[in-house]
């Protein structure tokens, strides 16, 4: 995802002298090509994220479109107020890019687990929030960011994420991407955990539960219409995200369903709202927190079975009353 992002950014920078990339001293090996090709459009703000966000606002208000870049929580939480006041309030054309969303830097420890970023960025006024699911979605989201501009937040995975989409996709802000239709359960997914969600859907299929996947590369604006429609078509909706249970995709879907007074059951699969002192690689930590394909499919099938049992018990009880 990171490589696809930088390739797209460089392509745009080659034809747009007003595109500026600022890093807070991170991107070893990733920014080199950009720097070599467009040194006048690149800045290293130093290990100084507040400065980076403020610089970005000042440069953008002078007519540039600016991308700030760092890893995990540094470009977001470390300079949150600068993003809120300097970028969002001034509607500055700045896209904040974080690489290593979720547990991508799992072994580096709690400081590098970006697990509340979507919730916090979603809460900012005027901030578009994107978490593409694979390299193709990254390219599509970047196309939109380059066209419609910031303020925006782009959460990337790291590198080497499997391609879920076989071909290019179209994902203007506020849309979601269906992967399959006609199933009885819908698995909503955001961010780089998309391929895990797809594998969970396959496992459910082997158990006789037809599950569709819908990827949400945008959390803000959010495709509320897709959720409202899904509420009428599916027997259950599950959300899968490599993010805290608080404030991310599950919350966004719950808000839509609650306001629509939808009766469809919602299964929110996310990280618990706690810091992890245990480290490990991304796959290990996903497994430890129930975000591997097996755990996800088990969670959903168990939920459906329990619900079926409850419904049958209820029917049995009702018939006795009659």
């Amino acid at each position: 995802m990171r490589n696809r992002f930088f390739a797209g950014l460089l392509t745009a920078a080659l034809v747009d002298p007003d595109l500026v990339l600022i890093t807070a001293d991170l991107g070893f090996g990733a920014v080199d090509e950009f720097v070599a090709a467009r040194p006048g459009q690149f800045l290293n703000a130093g290990v100084a994220e507040q400065n980076m966000a403020g610089l970005a606002a000042g440069i953008a208000l002078g007519g540039a479109r600016v991308f700030t870049y760092s890893i995990a929580n540094f470009p977001t939480l470390r300079c949150l107020e600068q993003i809120r006041n300097d970028i969002c309030y001034h509607r500055a054309d700045v896209t904040v890019v974080a690489v290593g969303g979720g547990l991508a830097y799992g072994a580096l420890g709690m400081s590098h687990h970006a697990t509340e970023d979507l919730a916090v960025m979603r809460a900012l006024p005027g901030m578009a929030v994107a978490a593409p699911g694979d390299p193709a979605e990254t390219a599509a989201v970047l196309d939109d960011l380059l066209t419609a501009g910031g303020p925006a937040y782009l959460r990337l995975g790291k590198t080497g994420e499997p391609a879920v989409h076989a071909a290019a996709v179209h994902a203007p802000r506020g849309t979601s991407i269906p992967l399959g239709e006609g199933g009885e359960v819908l698995l909503c997914s955001t961010g780089a955990i998309l391929d895990v969600t797809c594998r969970a859907a396959e496992l459910l299929g082997r158990d006789g539960i037809r599950a569709d996947v819908r990827s949400f590369p945008w959390l803000d604006p959010f495709d509320t219409a897709a959720i409202r429609e899904a509420a009428t078509r599916y027997a259950a909706i599950a959300t899968v995200e490599e993010h805290s249970i608080v404030g991310g995709l599950g919350s966004a879907v719950a808000e839509v369903l609650a306001e629509a007074a939808a009766a469809v059951p919602l299964i929110r699969i996310a990280l618990p709202a706690q810091s992890s002192s245990v480290v490990g690689d991304q796959d290990y930590l996903r497994g430890a927190f129930g975000l591997d394909p097996e755990s996800i499919s088990r969670r959903i099938s168990t939920h459906l079975q329990e619900r079926q049992t409850r419904l049958e018990a209820h029917r049995g009880l009702a018939s006795q009353v009659r």
């Binding site: 130093g46 507040q50 403020g54 000042g58 600068q82 300097d86």
Partner: protein, 271 residues
């Protein structure tokens, strides 16, 4: 004979006293402290056009000590960006004229502030952009002295020194008073000038109420030539011009009563 900047400063002080008194707002001492700096900037230094506030090549001014917003609104009205009658809306329900600087709905305000430590990074970005695009604008940032406790100020100071942003001027309103006492009691700033110099800045220490000295210190060349950014350490008096407000931290908070307003207006020559 009063100069244009001196008469502007006097008018700004009168506006600020009336605004804080009728609005029951804080920070009158901070606003009086920087009235001369603002008057000098807006009468002779900044290249701005009240008829075209968003003129692309205008000089940029960022009021980083946003709590003295009343003084900025007052000087903008004096410079003709909007009618001074609007100033009466300061701090009122439904008004855009907030206690801290906001650009929305107020012509001439370059940037919204209020949380300290934001202005210098933004100003550095504006100055860098001028150089990158070969535009002639200069960027001025007015900081409070207590504001220099914020680490982000020094992040930007380091950046501007490293990149030799000669088109950037940081003015520190150095009245040596912050929220709970003097700066020296709170977090020592001295050796303040040496700090800026060590970050790669050219430093001018001036009397922040001497218009001639300010004018000289604030005038830096235009253009893209790299060179040291300029720091103007303006030695000021908090509450300047009103004897019972001068050097008293109380006036960081308290608005003048009707009776105090009359006395104060007389002292600043507005009666």
């Amino acid at each position: 004979m009063e100069t244009a900047s001196e008469s502007t400063a006097r008018a700004v002080r009168a506006h600020v006293l009336r605004m804080t008194s009728s609005g029951r707002s804080s920070h009158v001492g901070s606003a009086l402290s920087c009235a001369d700096v603002l008057a000098v900037l807006y009468t002779g230094v900044l290249r701005v056009d009240p008829a075209d506030p968003r003129w692309p090549d205008r000089d940029r001014f960022v009021m980083s000590k946003g709590h003295a917003g009343a003084a900025l609104y007052a000087v903008l009205a004096e410079r003709g960006f909007f009618d001074e009658a609007v100033l009466h809306r300061h701090y009122q329900n439904g008004s855009y004229l907030s206690g801290h600087v906001s650009h929305v709905g107020i012509p001439g305000v370059e940037f919204s502030t209020g949380s300290l430590g934001h202005g210098l990074p933004v100003g550095a970005g504006m100055a860098w952009r001028a150089r990158q695009t070969g535009r002639p604008w200069r960027t001025y940032v007015l900081l409070g002295d207590g504001e220099c406790d914020e680490g982000s100020v020094w992040e930007a100071a380091m950046f501007a020194g490293h990149h030799e942003l000669a088109g950037l001027v940081a003015v520190v309103d150095w009245n040596n008073m912050q929220s709970l006492g003097t700066c020296e009691e709170t977090l020592r700033l001295e050796p303040f000038a040496d700090k800026w110099r060590s970050f790669g800045w050219d430093v001018a220490e001036v009397d922040g109420h001497d218009h001639g000295a300010l004018t000289g210190a604030l005038d830096v060349p235009r253009g893209a030539e790299p060179g040291k950014p300029r720091c103007v350490l303006a030695r000021t008096v908090k509450g300047k011009g009103v004897s019972f407000m001068e050097n008293r931290v109380l006036w960081h908070y308290r608005p003048p009563s009707a009776e105090e307003l009359e006395r104060a207006l007389e002292e600043v020559g507005a009666r």
